[in-house]
Symmetry: C2
Subunit: 431 residues, 2 copies
C-alpha cells in the first residue's frame, strides 16, 4: 500500500470514506475491551493458584530461624524471602527490605519520608523552596502522580532505545542541586519496553549530582518478565555498579512479585546500600511492627528458590507472547509502510509504546473509546499528563483474551488510519 | 502482713534481707521470660490456623461483586470485608477503608499525610511553626513514637478510670490552635485497661477545638477483646456520637484483626466521615493500587460474619483470662495491703498497669531484668519515654505460658517489695 504521506488529498479523502465504513461496523459490535492497564489476565493468575495450597492448618508457620511468622515482628522481612527476592533482584539478601503487597507504596513512602525527614541527615524536602525530579518520557503515570502530589517539579528527559538521554541527565543533575531524583524503569521500560544499555547504567552509577541527597529511583518492575527464552535483555545490576563507581548510596531499587504471583497479594522489596537501609529502618520502625510474614513464607514455599520462580515466569511468557505478537502483527499489517506511526517491539514487560503522528493520540484514543475499547488516556505517559506532541500511546496487551485483543488491535489500527489521514488533509472530524 | 509504710526502719531492713535471700534463688534459675509486649501466645495463634484452609487452589477468589481478588484494584477494600469489619467496629461499611496488615501503619500514614498535605484543605502541618498532640498518660509507646518522630510536641493529659481528664482536654483544645490531635485507646486502654465512660465519649464528640484540623486519633484496638463473657465494658460509638454532636469530621477511628487472627497477617481498617474518607482517598490513590484483597477474602470466608468473629474471641478469652487472673492473684497475695503499689484489673485488652511508689519503676524493672524477666522499659508509657514519677509499669501477661507467667509475676512482686522497702529506708542498692 502507498504511504499516506505520499497520497494526494483526493486519495486520502477516498481512503477516509472507505475506512469509516469499516469503522461503522465496529460501532455496531458493542465492544467492551480494556487495553488501558498492565493487568495480568485471569489465565496468568491461574498459574499461581498452587500458592493457595502451600500453607494449611497443618503447616509449621515458622521460618528457618525459628521465628513464628504468624506473630508480630521481623521488621525487614524473613531471611528466606530476602534470599528468594535477592536472587530475583540480583542483590545480596542483606541489602534488601521486604515490604507489603505494593512496590508503588514503597516508592510513595520513600518520597514521603524524604519530604518529612530528608535523606541521610540532609534537609527534609518539605523545607526546601524547590524540589525537582527528572522524568524520562514516555514513562509510568503512577510514578509521575507521586511526584506531582508532593509538589515536586517534573522535568521531562527524552528516552532513547538505550535509556534516558544521559548527556542531559548528567548535565542537569550536576548543575542543579534542587534536582533530587529521577524515575527509572530500567528494564522492559514502561511503556516502551526498552532496556537501559550497559553504558547508560554505568553513566548512572557515575553521576556526580550537585545534591548530596539525589537518588535514582530504580523501579526494576520487569526484571524477570521476559517474553522470549532466547531473546532476553540484560541489565547491569545498579547497586553493584554504584558501589564500584564509589557512589554506593546513589540508588534506591524497587521490585515486587506483583506480576509474578497475584498483583494484589504479592510481596514488594527495596534494595539499597547499608547507609540507606539504616536510614529507612529508622523510619520504618515507627511506621510498622512488620509486614505480612505469612505471605512471605507462602511465596518462599511456593517457589522453593529462584529456579522455581524462573520456570514460573516462562509460563507467563507463554500466555503473554502470543498477545504481544498478535498486536505487533496487526500493527505491521495495517500500518506498516503508511508513514504515519512507529511502535516498539519489546522482548519483555507489559507494554508496547505506539507513536502516532503529532497531534493525533487523543483523537485515536477517542475513536477507540467510542467503539468500547479503552486505552490508557493520551498524555498519561508524560508528567502532568501532558504530552506536548500528543503522540505517545501506551498499549497494554496482557488483560484481554487473544480473540478480544485481535479485535481491539484492529480497531486501534483502523482508528490510527482514519485520524492520520484526516490529520494529513487538515480536517479532523469529531467522532 | 503489716503495711511497709507502717514498718519501722529495722523491720524494713530485716524484711529486705529476707527478700533478697529469695531473690538469690531466682537469680540462679536462669529465666528467660518476656512480659514486655502485647503479643498473643502460640496457643492463641493456633486458634486461627483454620484460616490457612479456607482458600485453596480450587477456590473461587472472586468477591461478591465478581471482582477477581487476585488482581489489581479496589482501593478501599472488598465490600464483604467492610461489612465484617464494620460490624466489628460498629460502623457502616461505607465509612470504612480496609488497609494492609497494620493499623499502626495506618496511623503513621495519617499523621504523615497531615504533615505533607494537611487535613481537608488546611495548612500542611510541616509548614506550621508548632504542632502539638495531647497524650493521655499512661499510654501506648508506639503512638508517642510516631508523634515524636514527626517533631510534634506531646502534652501529657492524666488518665482516670473514666478516660482522659476531659476538663483539661476541653480547655487545651479550645484555647490552642496548634493542638492538632489526641491519641486515644478508648476501650481496655493500653496500658490500664480502662474504658472511656459514656460522658467522656460524649464530651469528646462535643469538643470545640480552636484548630479546624484537630482530630481525635481513636485507636479502638481492643474493641472486641473481652476477658469475660459477663463483665464486658461498653463504649459509645464515636463516629455516631460526633455526627450527632454536629462534629462529623472530628475523629479518625482505627482498628485491626491483629489480635484476632495473626498479628503479622491481619487486616487493618480506618473509619471516618465521608469528608475525611474523600480526603484520605485522594492521597491513598497515589500511594497504592490497592491492599491485599486475597487476605481480606480469607478473613471473610474464615469468620463468615461477626458472629463467627465473636465466638472466636471467646476462645482467646479462655486462654488470656487465666493469665490475667494469675497475675492479679499473685499481685494481691504478695503486695496487697503493703501500701506500696496499685494496679488495674481490666475486663479486656492486653495489659495490666502497675503503679509503684514514686521513683521505683526503673529499679523494679532492672531487678526483673537481672533475673531474665523482660518487662516494658520504665517510662515507655509516657511521651519521650519519660515518666516524671518513675512509677508506671506495663504488664503484658499474654505471651508467656501460664507456668512461666506465674514465675515471672512472683519475681516481679518480689522485686517490687525489695525496691519499695529500700525506697522507704532511703537506701536503694544497685542490683
Amino acid at each position: 500500500m502507498k504511504a499516506y504521506t505520499e497520497m494526494t488529498r483526493d486519495e486520502l479523502t477516498a481512503e477516509i470514506k472507505e475506512l469509516k465504513e469499516v469503522y461503522k461496523k465496529y460501532q455496531k459490535m458493542d465492544l467492551s475491551l480494556d487495553m488501558s492497564r498492565g493487568k495480568p489476565c485471569a489465565e496468568q493468575l491461574d498459574l499461581s493458584m498452587g500458592m493457595m495450597d502451600v500453607l494449611s492448618s497443618e503447616s509449621d508457620l515458622a521460618c528457618e530461624d525459628g521465628t513464628d511468622c504468624r506473630n508480630y515482628g521481623v521488621l525487614t522481612g524473613v531471611h528466606e524471602a530476602k534470599v528468594l527476592i535477592g536472587d530475583m533482584m540480583e542483590n545480596n539478601p542483606d541489602n534488601i527490605i521486604i515490604f507489603g503487597n505494593s512496590s508503588l507504596n514503597v516508592m510513595y513512602d520513600t518520597v514521603s519520608r524524604a519530604m518529612t525527614h530528608g535523606i541521610l541527615g540532609n534537609t527534609p524536602w518539605c523545607k526546601l523552596d524547590k524540589v525537582k525530579f527528572l522524568c524520562p518520557v514516555p514513562g509510568y503515570d503512577r510514578h509521575f502522580a507521586i511526584t506531582e502530589y508532593f509538589g515536586i517539579e517534573m522535568i521531562p528527559v527524552p528516552m532513547t532505545p538505550e535509556g534516558p538521554d544521559m548527556d542531559m541527565v548528567e548535565k542537569l543533575v550536576s548543575e542543579d542541586d534542587s534536582i533530587k531524583g529521577i524515575w527509572c524503569v530500567p528494564k522492559y521500560s514502561n511503556p516502551q519496553g526498552y532496556s537501559y544499555s550497559d553504558e547508560t547504567v554505568r553513566r548512572f552509577a557515575k553521576l556526580k549530582p550537585a545534591a548530596p541527597d539525589f537518588r535514582i529511583f530504580w523501579d526494576n518492575a520487569y526484571g524477570v518478565h521476559h517474553l522470549y527464552e532466547h531473546k532476553q535483555d540484560h541489565l547491569i545490576e545498579i547497586l553493584a555498579a554504584c558501589k564500584r563507581a564509589g557512589n554506593p548510596d546513589l540508588v534506591y531499587k524497587f521490585s515486587s512479585t506483583s506480576k509474578i504471583t497475584f498483583p494484589g497479594s504479592g510481596i514488594a522489596a527495596l534494595a539499597a546500600s547499608p547507609n540507606n537501609l539504616e536510614d529507612i529502618q529508622d523510619q520504618l520502625k515507627r511506621q510498622t511492627i512488620g509486614h505480612d510474614k505469612v505471605n512471605q513464607l507462602r511465596h518462599v514455599r511456593y517457589f522453593g528458590d529462584i529456579h522455581g520462580l524462573v520456570e514460573h515466569m516462562k509460563k507467563h511468557a507463554e500466555i503473554l507472547r502470543p498477545k504481544f505478537e498478535a498486536v505487533e502483527d496487526i500493527l505491521e499489517e495495517e500500518l506498516g509502510g503508511l508513514g504515519i506511526a512507529e511502535w516498539t517491539k519489546p522482548h519483555g514487560g507489559y507494554f508496547i509504546c505506539f507513536e502516532s503522528m503529532e497531534g493525533c493520540a487523543k483523537a485515536i484514543i477517542k475513536r477507540c473509546s467510542k467503539c468500547g475499547v479503552k486505552m490508557t488516556p493520551a498524555g498519561s505517559t508524560w508528567p502532568y499528563k501532558k504530552d506536548p506532541y500528543d503522540r505517545d500511546i501506551r498499549i497494554a496487551p496482557s488483560y484481554p483474551s487473544l480473540e478480544d485483543l485481535i479485535t481491539a488491535a484492529k480497531l486501534f489500527a483502523l482508528s490510527v488510519r482514519i485520524v492520520s489521514a484526516e490529520k494529513l488533509i487538515g480536517k479532523m472530524d469529531e467522532v
